[in-house]
């Protein structure tokens, strides 16, 4: 099987909140230079899902494709160190900050360049923008079926089957290949990179494309535009309950909640 994993590089979401500020003039989040890059969390689960299929189905290769403006090779090679085989980078200064359906169109063009595939795996949403649009839109553009929020995945040469969490339980759904599946964290912890994997990843030379290498990227107007980005004001009017000891504070809290008829 040929599996493609889409991976996004993001500012480390674990960095302190003070490292992120609203750049209202440019309508985007400004990130302090001290914040390291990271692979978007859910994309590491998508990589894990790909490697589980690779473990189960012989003769499977896993290619990684990432669209961004400033890839840090050591970071974006993490899926390779986990066990993926090769890497395609689409680099453009404007695309990553734009409309998500346009990002999906660029990824679709890159994937057509890569060639035949059986399965595309993506994280359910990115850890910076949390939109959850790009992967599903990518499936629509490639005109393949999509199954989202997988918490378990099985694939053979013809079909992929997943479990997904829905409002009142778990659905099991399946699709003929080629198909796209988005992956959620309930899948289970992504594997660590092995020393052998890290060494192998170092030797991989990524294929790098710019917008000019992508077919069918029209100069049409975007589908959405960001018109404002700001930090909402927080009203910090918390009533701190104190006491001689933690136990006394707890007692005071219980009485205060009763006074307010909350318990």
């Amino acid at each position: 099987m040929r599996i493609i994993v889409t991976v996004k590089q993001v500012p480390d979401p674990e960095a302190p909140q003070s490292s992120f500020t609203a750049d209202r003039a440019n309508k985007k989040v400004a990130v302090a230079a001290s914040v390291p890059a990271a692979v978007s969390d859910y994309d590491t689960y998508a990589t894990e899902a790909a490697l589980r299929v690779k473990d189960a189905v012989s003769d499977t290769t896993v290619s990684v494709v990432s669209l961004g403006e400033d890839h840090v090779l050591d970071v974006i090679k993490r899926p390779l160190a986990m066990g993926a085989d090769d890497l395609y980078l689409v680099q453009d200064p404007d695309l990553p900050n734009g409309d998500p359906v346009t990002v999906a169109a660029a990824l679709a063009a890159a994937i057509r360049n890569i060639g035949e595939f059986d399965l595309i795996l993506s994280g359910r949403q990115s850890s910076d923008l949390d939109q959850g649009i790009v992967a599903t839109a990518l499936a629509a553009i490639l005109d393949i079926p999509v199954l989202t929020n997988a918490i378990a995945i099985e694939a053979n040469g013809d079909e992929v089957q997943i479990d997904r969490i829905v409002d009142d339980g778990i659905d099991t759904v399946a699709a003929r290949l080629p198909a796209l599946v988005t992956v959620s964290n309930e899948l289970g912890q992504p594997r660590y990179a092995t020393m052998r994997g890290i060494m192998a990843a170092r030797r991989v030379q990524p294929t790098v494309w710019g917008k000019a290498d992508l077919d069918g990227m029209s100069a049409a107007d975007p589908f959405t535009a960001v018109v404002d980005l700001f930090a909402p004001e927080k009203s910090a009017n918390v009533e701190m309950i104190e006491g001689e000891s933690p136990a006394e504070a707890a007692k005071a809290l219980a009485l205060r909640l009763r006074e307010e008829r909350l318990i």
Binding site: A104, D130, G169, F223, A225, V227, D228, E239
Partner: protein
């Protein structure tokens, strides 16, 4: 298409045909937009046996209900629901389409946007009309920032954050139009299939229905810590236990207790936030709570800025005393 008008709400129903609360919430959102635009509200109902619910949706506030009713729509599948919504959209020709930001709505929205060659904003929680067109506000970085999105093309599609709007209440006896729509589904083009559904094993009250939620985070440290949370919740009426993703990923409790941007969304009267920092990804699932009580040993924890009451202290010392005192109060 030209002449787009009105707001189309894509209703959500359970397999048994009952309307899900997100449908009521989207009707409320649509009513605000409808008043500003002076344009009508329509709704789509897709499923098996959903015709019987059309009047319910009219009573909630829809002027027209488009019904796609058939066995093949019993369970949600992207490949069957997308053509159904497209068939409705072609008849309704709306300016705005609202979809729930639910597991199925998130699955449907982007595919639909591509098919309709239009724009989509997801997980929106502030919908406004500016210069006659939709602008949708949504949280970024989990809630640290707000982003406002505009739509150069119509129809504008927005998925709506759960519990962002109060649900519309039924006004019995409203009159409206019911239109049956044929999705024109060609079964031979469907490449995916529904296999099975398993109901969640819910003991006691569902998180979404609880009046009081007792939630623990990473700082609980282990499963035993969660036992303490259960002790508190069993003392309180209509209360249940929730968790942050850090806690579920660490195996302190079951996965389906997760509250947050990718988990459940709750809005109880009282929310105990215990040993959790208040990361914006978590707050996205509980910020609709009427009263948040924070217990955390770090006085700088973000959760205190989001709370009405706060106690600084180690939960291992605070919680046993709280359980004892609450126990006394509930007895008396």
């Amino acid at each position: 298409m030209a002449g787009e008008s009105g707001i189309l709400v894509i209703g959500e129903t359970g397999v048994d045909g009952t309307l899900r609360s997100i449908t009521n919430e989207m009707i409320t959102a649509a009513q605000g937009l409808s008043a500003d635009l002076g344009e009508p509200i329509s709704a789509a109902l897709i499923g098996s046996g959903v015709s019987a619910r059309a009047q319910d949706v009219i009573d909630l506030g829809a002027d027209t209900v488009y019904v796609v009713d058939g066995e093949q729509f019993t369970n949600y599948l992207n490949e069957t629901y997308t053509p159904a919504v497209i068939a409705v959209a072609q008849q309704a020709n709306p300016r705005i389409i609202l979809i729930g930001h639910t597991p199925n709505g998130r699955d449907l929205g982007p595919y639909l946007a591509v098919r309709l060659q239009t724009g989509i904003a997801s997980d929106t929680s502030g919908l406004n009309i500016v210069d006659g067109q939709l602008q949708a506000a949504r949280s970024v970085a989990g809630g640290q920032f707000r982003q406002v999105v505009s739509f150069p093309k119509m129809p504008a599609i927005a998925t709506v954050h759960m519990k962002a709007y109060d649900g519309a209440e039924s006004q019995g006896g409203r009159s409206g139009q019911v239109v049956n729509v044929d999705a024109g589904l060609d079964a031979s083009t469907v490449r995916s299939r529904f296999v099975k559904h398993e109901d969640a094993q819910v003991e006691g009250i569902r998180l979404e229905d609880a009046s009081i939620v007792v939630t623990g985070g990473r700082g609980m440290g282990d499963k035993d810590g969660f036992d303490e949370l259960y002790k508190l919740s069993t003392l309180l009426p209509a209360a249940t236990v929730g968790a942050t993703r850090a806690a579920t990923d660490s195996g302190y409790c079951e996965q389906d207790l997760m509250i947050g941007i990718t988990g459940r969304v709750v809005s109880p009267d009282l929310y105990f936030a215990i040993a959790l920092s208040g990361a914006s990804q978590h707050m996205a699932g509980c910020s609709g709570s009427k009263n948040i009580v924070a217990i955390n040993r770090d006085p700088e924890a973000n959760i205190f800025t989001e709370s009405r009451f706060g106690v600084v202290g180690d939960y291992k010392q605070v919680l046993p005393a709280l359980i004892e005192e609450v126990g006394k109060l509930m007895e008396g």
